[in-house]
């Protein structure tokens, strides 16, 4: 446990020294990045030992006599701590070359400071053992990430994004507080451990409130609205951390509450499963319709949160209907996807940051042909795209495979549950297909073909510290994809604290699944090597010519003729036009010789579209009626306070 606090202090020292050194740009960056990453490394070391020993670590201290600050690190916490420290370490390294605006030295140092605070608060959230510690760390996490989102606060849309994020994270926190409040009113204790004492109705209420609260952090549809705004606004390494880990803290919250309640109602599983399916499909459909690379990745996070929730939902249904194998597969698949998504999504965000750095734009239809000049970025992003589409032999496949297997185990269930299981399997298949479509679109439009604008021409690849984390993450994608065994066991162990109660022989059967994946991937690699060897033989001694692309008889091709991302996605989006209405703006074509014309299209997010009409306006109208309470007279305000205290003292 001392190592844990040591790592936190080292990370904090990094943040503080960055602030102190804000006049020396390069020194500040190197000190900040070194301290933060080495702090994370200590944390990683501690957590690995913790996982290996398999004994929970505890720590508690009295703070101001009344509130006990308590930490408890079990297998579930350790699993998330590994992600937090691992990804943050790479993000800190990445930040060294990424933050290159020397004229914004102070803003950069503030960014390092809040970055360190964000890492610390995330680690404390997953280690927290009572409500006070949890809420305290949770709020620090929300606020520090808010300051990171508004890093480039000069642009008005970034401030708007920050505001939206602030509102969402605090409304979410209110829901979590409500859930905690219900718990406290029943048990009279701030400890997490006594939650089992609640009545069943109270447990359902607690779960629903906590699910909404944590879901708004995780980006579950329809509480995901802040995500596509906040991610493009934040610097790329921050987006990587926020999308890779911070939103998973919401998943951690859901799992923790579920475990603590110890109440395995079928309803919980159904809620989570349905939320997962809706987020998964809508997330990827909206992703397909995006024009901005980082917005696209943000929506893709919504999709992957959906996949995680489908896995967890299958696990919960397995627990409540007494099918331990289904529960084990579902939960492990969900946890594996938490790990995998953290790896490839941070890789993709880092790649997006590199693209933005080198070209100055994130608009996909302005880019093209980057792979020729940016070989490492392109190749690692290709690996990330393959992995996130869930294709073998990459890591995304492993988690989806486990979730599928869990789902199939559940087809033996009864009517209503069976229907939702069938829908879950089919929606996973549809999500897989759509993810393939959207990532071929992004990779094809951004990295392949020819440059669509002058910005995408003559690019180069610079920044060693940006490339190293990307290479490392791409390596992890392949490693987990080919040798999933260790990670699958880790994920399965992290869920053992939930009390599913699986027997050792089940785990054996389960490990065999990962062995099969390793075998099949090895054979596939052998095939590829054989085919490549055959290819070399076939081409031996032949002259290979280079020419322009066959234009089907057209002799004057231009880069403008290339298929754009918008057109690539158009027909699929038409299929989903019910949930993803397209808004188009274009000038009319007039006369025989029409002049310049413009075309603009946008895929509307139904949650965003109706949020204003259904939630914001009614609430504003209600509060406008209550305006008379806020009259600005200080005497009466003091009267309100007295009145409130009297009511609380005597009547509650």
């Amino acid at each position: 446990m001392h190592l844990f606090f040591l790592s936190i202090f080292v990370v904090f020292a990094g943040g503080i020294s960055a602030i102190l050194l804000n006049r020396h740009f390069t020194l500040m960056k190197s000190v900040g990045a070194t301290f933060i990453s080495s702090g994370c490394l200590i944390g990683l070391y501690f957590t690995s030992i913790q996982l290996f020993l398999d004994v929970p670590a505890d720590f508690s201290a009295n703070y101001l006599d009344h509130f006990i600050i308590a930490f408890h690190i079990d297998a579930l916490s350790s699993f998330f701590l590994i992600l937090i420290f691992g990804i943050s370490m790479l993000a800190a390294i990445y930040s060294f070359h990424y933050m290159n605006q020397a004229e914004k030295s102070l803003a950069t140092s503030v960014n390092y400071f809040f970055f360190s605070i964000l890492i610390i608060s995330m680690a404390l959230v997953v280690a927290a053992a009572n409500m006070i510690t949890f809420m305290f760390s949770w709020e620090i996490m929300s606020i520090s990430s808010f300051f990171l989102v508004i890093h480039s606060h000069h642009a008005v849309e970034n401030r708007k994004a920050g505001y939206l994020y602030f509102v969402f994270s605090h409304v979410g926190a209110m829901f979590i507080l409500t859930a905690f409040g219900i718990m406290y009113s029943f048990t009279g204790s701030l400890n997490f451990g006594e939650m089992v004492l609640l009545t069943d109705t109270a447990k359902i209420a607690v779960f629903v409130f906590a699910f909404i609260g944590f879901g708004s952090k995780a980006g579950v549809f329809p509480f995901h609205v802040w995500l596509p705004h906040a991610h493009p606004a934040a610097p790329s390494h921050i987006s990587a951390v926020m999308s890779g880990i911070m939103i998973k803290i919401g998943i951690y919250g859901i799992l923790r509450i579920y475990a603590l309640l110890g109440f395995h109602a079928l309803l919980f599983g159904e809620i989570v499963l349905i939320a997962g399916m809706v987020s998964g499909i809508l997330g990827v459909v909206y992703a397909l319709g995006q024009h901005d690379l980082k917005r696209f990745l943000a929506y893709s996070s919504v999709e992957n949160i959906g996949i995680i929730l489908i896995g967890i939902g299958i696990g919960m249904i397995g627990v409540s209907s007494g099918k331990p194998m289904m529960a084990l597969l579902g939960f492990t698949g969900g946890m594996m996807h938490v790990l995998n998504h953290a790896v490839f999504k941070s890789l993709l965000f880092m790649g997006a940051g590199m693209v933005q750095h080198r070209t100055g734009t994130l608009t996909m239809d302005m880019l093209g042909g980057l792979l020729k000049k940016m070989k490492i970025t392109g190749s690692t992003l290709l690996i990330g795209s393959l992995a996130i589409s869930g294709l073998p032999p990459f890591n995304g496949f492993v988690s989806e495979f486990l979730i599928y297997c869990g789902g199939f185990e559940g087809t033996g269930l009864d009517r209503m549950t069976l229907i939702s299981i069938i829908l879950a399997i089919v929606s996973l298949a549809v999500i897989g297909g759509l993810a393939l479509a959207s990532f071929t679109k992004v990779f094809g439009v951004v990295f392949q073909g020819e440059a669509r604008s002058s910005q995408a021409e003559n690019v180069d690849e610079k920044g060693l510290t940006m490339l190293i984390p990307m290479l490392a993450l791409a390596g992890v994608c392949i490693f987990i994809g080919v040798f999933p065994r260790m990670f699958v066991i880790m994920a399965a162990n992290s869920m053992s604290s939930l009390g599913i109660g699986f027997s050792p022989d089940m785990l054996g059967q389960f490990i065999q699944l990962s062995g099969n994946i390793t075998m099949a991937s090895a054979i596939f690699f052998a095939f590829i090597l054989a085919a490549l060897a055959a290819r070399i033989i076939f081409y031996r001694g032949k002259t290979i010519t280079r020419s322009c692309t066959w234009g089907c008889g057209f002799t004057q091709p231009t880069v403008k003729m290339q298929y754009t991302g918008t057109s690539y996605a158009a027909s699929i989006l038409d299929f989903f036009s019910m949930v993803a209405p397209r808004h188009e703006d274009h000038s009319r074509v007039e006369n025989c010789f029409p002049g310049r014309s413009v075309y603009h299209s946008r895929i509307n997010d139904v949650a965003e579209l109706y949020m204003d009409a259904v939630v914001v306006r009614p609430v504003l109208a209600l509060f406008a009626r209550l305006r008379w309470i806020q009259h600005g007279d200080i005497h009466l305000y003091i009267g309100y306070i007295l009145l409130a205290i009297i009511i609380l003292l005597f009547f509650v």
Binding site: G412, L434, T440, G444, E450, L513, M519, R546
Partner: protein, 306 residues
């Protein structure tokens, strides 16, 4: 094991022959003599002897595309029980692995198409990505039914030994719908009429052919073999569904298998001869029919099984 590997090799070697049967059937309907049955072997050998022209727009992905799509299709055949014999490889959930492996092949075919910067290839790629989504939903729907019937999740369990016969015995006539659904998926996934016309001359109306326009020489030969393997994979599944018999004599068994598989290729040929390619916006509805059929079968079967 040796026997399975030999069968696997034979199936890869025979796949181009069966594909030529379709051409013969189409020629018969057109009142023509048609190309020889070994036409595809001649084509592939000719391609392997040639060299390639690469577009200046392309990168290494363009060269990886054919390799990976061939490997994916050839590897899928390893999991397929041929003539009811045990496949080379089999494990719980192998069918999911295969579907996603074919997805990997599709990813690289699309990526290779996008690599050329050609508007036509981009158009073909978009269609390929779109239609395969619905196909995948259908196949998973069928898998749910099969899992429900057998409790297993591998091709070997469904199509080797008496597996297919047991499927028919438990499910009965509703399985006919599955056969039709699978046939529709076969047509869609392998770029056949009425989804795609491999023989058309206009690039705008193609799906698969337009995606490989720029490939030439041995690379194109790889793609062709991969396409034949993939067609054989789907055809073998459908043929096993319509002829689930297992005569004990190996020659008879092989004869039944080849006859049933020829039947499927002839059926594909007849479909191509009598139906015109659908308009592009009608294709998703056509493929969705297969999903509805599979869903329908699952629901009735589950209701009667209780």
């Amino acid at each position: 094991m040796i026997q399975s590997i030999i069968l696997w090799l034979i199936s890869i070697l025979l796949a181009p022959f069966f594909a030529a049967v379709i051409l013969k059937v189409k020629a018969f309907f057109g009142g023509k003599k048609g190309p020889p049955l070994l036409i595809h072997y001649y084509t592939v050998i000719k391609l392997f002897q040639k060299s390639s022209v690469y577009s200046t727009s392309t990168t290494f992905i363009f060269r990886m595309g054919p390799v990976i799509s061939l490997c994916a299709s050839a590897m899928a055949l390893m999991f397929l029980p041929i003539a009811g014999y045990r496949p080379v490889l089999s494990f719980h959930g192998d069918i999911i692995f295969i579907l996603y492996l074919l997805g990997l092949g599709r990813f690289f075919t699309i990526a290779a198409a996008m690599d050329t910067a050609s508007p036509f290839e981009g158009m073909g790629a978009a269609r390929e990505a779109y239609f395969s989504i619905i196909c995948e939903a259908t196949i998973f729907m069928i898998l749910i039914l099969f899992f429900k019937l057998t409790g297993k999740l591998s091709l070997a369990a469904y199509f080797s030994g008496s597996g297919t016969l047991d499927l028919w015995e438990t499910a009965g006539s509703p399985l006919l719908f599955v056969v039709i659904a699978f046939f529709i998926v076969l047509l869609a996934e392998n770029a056949r009429v009425p989804v795609d016309d491999p023989a058309t001359h206009l690039e705008l109306t193609m799906i698969h052919e337009v995606m490989v326009l720029d490939h030439s020489g041995p690379d194109f030969g790889f793609i062709e073999i991969g396409v034949f393997c993939k067609l054989f994979f789907y055809s073998a599944i459908v043929s096993r569904l319509i002829a689930p018999f297992n005569p004990s004599h190996p020659v008879l068994n092989g004869g039944v298998f080849i006859a049933s598989i020829l039947l499927i290729y002839v059926a594909v040929g007849i479909t191509e001869s009598v139906i015109a390619r659908y308009k592009m916006d009608k294709v998703p509805k056509f493929i969705l029919t297969s999903f509805v059929l599979a869903f329908f079968t699952t629901i009735i079967t589950l209701e009667f099984l209780k």
